[in-house]
Symmetry: D2
Subunit: 408 residues, 4 copies
């Protein structure tokens, strides 16, 4: 349905050409300083028309907070959020209405509902993500304030243009094809870990592609413009890191941290793939090399020497950086003519009207960050319930010492 | 938590060394013929000791149905399922208790709960998956009976041993490294689509690795035995196809079909990656080639000429084969000595005692199938609610024809 | 939280003095004719200022539909609903802010959240019910269209002014005090059943008290005006009937129909009591008299000769009229001076400023109807999922005939 | 469905004549000392055969804990609970199978599922409550340990035999019938409040009726035996008090504390009515008398001088005693012959075979206590999440002082 989360719960509404899109954010902790500007900054990073790489539609996307806040402080009650649909133009798509757009949602929405919005795929519109980004910005505001959580996403590939192997996520580094060679440590380079540890949104935004490696960004630009010139489109991947998440988040067994995170990411339009930590690449590395050995950190607590796990072990965060990568397919809506069939099966050619994003990954960056914030926030509240409940109990004295948390 | 699903809802309990593991399956349609044998067959495919590639522990894993069935017919009430833990051996792990196993759940469970099971990671035990497999078998029984749904998973890679490019999922075929070359159609070969369309469990089970390509299976065997001999472990990927799923399943926007499927798969122990359809590979293929053109099928309905989408568009099934791939990391528990630290930070060496699976992917096959069945079943019920509700309404006459399902 | 329902799901936001109040209605069947007027009519019955018995605040409460509908037809996507807060006057309550209002939510909201809205009880405001009424109107539109469901609530008592015994719900008829006399059939009079079977909203609205028995309504008016004159308040009960609900709704065991209905009703502000069918009165009537004997109806199906059960047996609807009664306490906010204490414990006198409803039950009528519609709609969808799933199965042939639905 | 709760979540299975009944309790705080005996004590209070007032079936009802506990300490993982069905006797009811039992669940289960258990109403069996009682005992163990919560239910009426007015809940005291007389304070007597404040389970269990007023208990006994002798049945009410619940529990707006409590209670078989605090009686008492004035307590915090509210205001607990009353109808299964119809409509006479409880309220006492514990526990965890999240924020300095919790 249109609701995400258990204790920090977001419900969204709206499609391309209705009066507004919006969300209700329920479960925000009371007493948090929050302004519309906190939300607006991420909405503005999401909206189109920011460079010649994206659709030139000028959506102002100004958020109006309806409830849940007084004097700039959250009350703990639901926060209503609304963004008007100013640039509606509902007839722009009308001439092509006899055709379900290939690989778009027109056909499946009609199969599902029996009716569909005039704009086609209804809620599959990218405009639906406004509510997510607004809600995620609220979660992030809390996480940063209390835990110093930092969430930074960036573009790691566009088409076949990848980050260089030195700073690429493991799966972007091809294996050597030698089944008998286990030397694969380079798939998790110290430079990449360093990038994860230090990258900021400011750095990411320096290049219109939101790729933090500028030379690669330039090649991505060329790749996107080539697609644009051909009235075609191209996909890419977004990599995201979440720093300073407390250990202990994630609910065994069905709601493991990575399961919720994957759920969140795969609910973003156009996503087809998700991996955490070493991901698919980690399936090729023997356990003896892939295991993250424990080490004593300066503060006396345990950390890991490497981080193939991506900050999650057994479905629960371990305090290390959480990193993951999402694959976005090439956008389905292209203005190049395509041989396809009408709803009634009549063969023909479809060329989409209007202006379309040749590549969505730069704009997907704040959406990925928002969904990440929603997952962390919800899991934090759930674990907070458990820990505060357990904290009321007397110390456990009847278990063997190895079954109890040692004093730290 | 330990519950999965909205209308077809599975709740599991149990860890390695307690009295039993089990599940409650709520929401099974009434009037379904169901026997313990229907459930047992998949449990038996899951259990260890089936070949020299897996752990030799002999778990009988006989399921006992507690409720919800009379005279071999489901009543619609919750089905209680129980499998006794006969082979408990709780002391097998005891000497290593000072060490959290690297990349295992010992440390994170302790962080989460403050206490942990004597066996270590508690619910992260592979034994927890028994409840899922039993529940999935019930869902599958229904899906097969009513829709002819077929779910077949198989091993597509072990370490760097992949299926050959002709029958491999797209992401297992390396790209050509040429950023300016869009000729990538071979990433979705007709032979692979044919494999998806025809593969059966019987064929999969012909080789102990559960790889349907026997020559590759032999190389996988060698790879696994090499890991075993080195007291090491190796990961792999499982690919799964679901055939004959009706169109229209999946709930926009947060519960898209692939989001729920990804959630389900990433909740299986040791998973680190998930992709559907063209997955990560699809990010490299231009929209003009990646889009699945519509064609009129023999029965008059619409199908697609290709299936890069993997049977899902806009988060909703389109009636084509659903296929996806899951990455399982190399098992964390190895008997090779590892330099690591104790809970209190003291450095040392850990060598796990007991017998451990050098590779879990062959046994993961029925678990993947079970989770797939749970997702399809739940989404089917939810969509069934909508369609049966809409069916009661008079035909819509006030919408433009292109907004309404055409008569078929 | 602020969400109600599983498949027909309503989420509300807003308090007294924020920008707007509203709701998102998710799960509405697609293809339903729906206009703002369908919603407005119940909102208008809910708003204050309709007679001298209620608060004279003039809230226009015009609903604005944001999404989910095109050309007057529901799309199946979330319906965003918004009602602006035009008459805000946030400073009206300011002088009394040192005092938590006795039996109001000021104190408990502060205990819960640590902060509170300037208006006091925040979401406990009657204005929150706007979202419910709007959502309920949508549910009702469907239920009426497809099943002919009729939901009519009315005022059955104000203070000690009750409907006369001939047409009163059982619990409003005092027992005779004779423990050894079981003659209690009069507690469920044929006239009352006839009232339930025929009462309409038009009849209910004929009197400003919304009591369908006009002479009693006049006495209720006097009672309310007496409270008003004394700057005091008075409570009352609302009785509601739901006609034409299909049998089979309600989910054993925790979500029995009456459990969900009670949940819904007790979530309405100021409610303290709920009973279904014979309710508390039914605890005094022996089983031999209380049991509803089955009879063959004209259409060949089974009905019951009496209806002590109130249309629900074993938590599942049986097709008979569903009737229930809700108790609303006397409103807490009165302008009469009250001896009480400030937040810091200082004793003093509080006299609420502003204008307050001396009695809420007439305005509660559409709220009760709305919550009833939400419960029926959600249960209908859930049961629809089950029935449509079961309908796909072949007929059950292996059960004894008494365990299977006989052909009708 | 068969699951109750959000963070403390109970799922039950089982009907009368299957292998076992049981439950999975998910979300129990880790580190709690818990033994089977803690659970058994309430199960033993629930089981039949404890006096000549109940059915003489001898159910041993020994609980077997399957998981989630080691060395007598909870691990935080799901606790599997199982009670074998030893006294099954599935054929005892067979001769009457042509008749749906009036006011029982036979007919509605068949309408709902299309099939039914051989025992009739399947999950409507009182045996289903075993899982609830076991789960509730675990919740209660925690609540008592950490908060000193005390939950005591008792029988307040059987048929027309009520507790005397001095110690009766308000609604059991008839009003004076004078619409113009507001003198109704006696409906909440100091003696009754004293009873609520001090009553213990030991006192309740002193009389087989579980009525704490022994003379009334004797009259109840006579009333029950009169029903038994007539092969008839009689209903009654159970009143329950929950002491020492922290303030701030309950979630606005749909999950108000009383809404969840009402939901829980109305999910118990045979319940038809629920009221909290002054309940239906409170609808007759003017606001000026009904309001609970605040007073400074000895510890400096605020309490209320009276407690018409029943410990809940605005849907949130205020720290006062929570009390409520539930109405149980007269049991439907009686061995007296009843004129009714068969499933196919044929008129006839039904006399139930076997032994049946003439009155269920004494045995309902521990079930009511269990459901109360489940509600408090779940709400406590949810509020714990919020409070621990808010506690991490810096003090709010930008709100007017009256909007912030004063230092205490």
């Amino acid at each position: 349905m249109s609701t995400f989360g258990t204790l920090f719960r977001v419900t969204t509404y709206g499609e391309s050409h209705c009066a507004s899109v919006g969300a209700i954010v329920d479960g925000c902790p009371p007493g948090l300083q929050l302004s519309a500007e906190d939300v607006q900054v991420q909405l503005s990073r999401r909206r189109p028309g920011q460079s010649n790489l994206t659709t030139p539609r000028n959506e102002k996307d100004a958020v109006h907070i309806q409830s849940g806040i007084e004097h700039g402080v959250t009350l703990g009650t639901p926060i209503g959020l609304l963004v008007k649909n100013e640039d509606q133009r509902p007839h722009d798509y009308s001439e092509t209405d006899l055709y379900p757009r290939p690989s778009h949602a027109d056909y499946t929405y009609l199969q599902k509902y029996g009716v569909k919005a005039s704009s086609g795929g209804g809620r599959s519109s990218a405009r639906e993500t406004i509510g997510r980004v607004a809600a995620g910005a609220i979660a992030e505001r809390y996480l940063k304030e209390v835990y110093g959580v930092e969430i930074v996403a960036f573009v790691s590939s566009v088409g076949k243009v990848h980050l260089p192997a030195t700073v690429a996520p493991p799966s972007l580094i091809p294996n050597d094809g030698n089944e008998d060679n286990d030397e694969a440590e380079d798939a998790l380079s110290p430079e990449f870990r360093q990038l994860l540890a230090t990258i900021t949104r400011e750095e990411v935004d320096k290049h219109p592609t939101r790729c933090p490696h500028l030379e690669t960004g330039e090649r991505m630009t060329k790749r996107i413009l080539r697609a644009k010139d051909a009235s075609d489109s191209i996909g890419g991947t977004v990599t995201c890191v979440i720093r300073n998440v407390p250990s202990g988040l994630g609910e065994p067994v069905f709601d493991k941290f990575e399961a919720k995170l994957g759920h969140a990411m795969l609910s973003i339009p156009a996503t087809k793939a998700f991996e955490i930590g070493s991901g698919f690449r980690g399936t090729e590395v023997p356990g003896s090399r892939h295991n993250d050995a424990f080490v004593k950190k300066e503060d006396g607590s345990l950390g890991t020497a490497t981080n193939w796990s991506g900050g999650v072990q057994g479905g629960i965060t371990n305090g290390e950086d959480i990193y993951f990568r999402i694959g976005f397919k090439s956008p389905a809506t292209i203005s190049q003519a395509q041989a396809t069939a009408q709803y009634d099966g009549t063969p023909g050619e479809l060329a989409a009207r209007g202006r379309h994003d040749p590549c969505v990954v730069p704009r997907a960056v704040p959406i990925v960050e928002a969904m990440a914030a929603l997952v962390v926030m919800d899991q934090l509240l759930i674990q907070g319930a458990r820990r505060s409940a357990a904290a009321g109990l007397p110390p456990v004295t009847t278990l063997p010492p190895t079954m109890v948390m040692p004093p730290q």
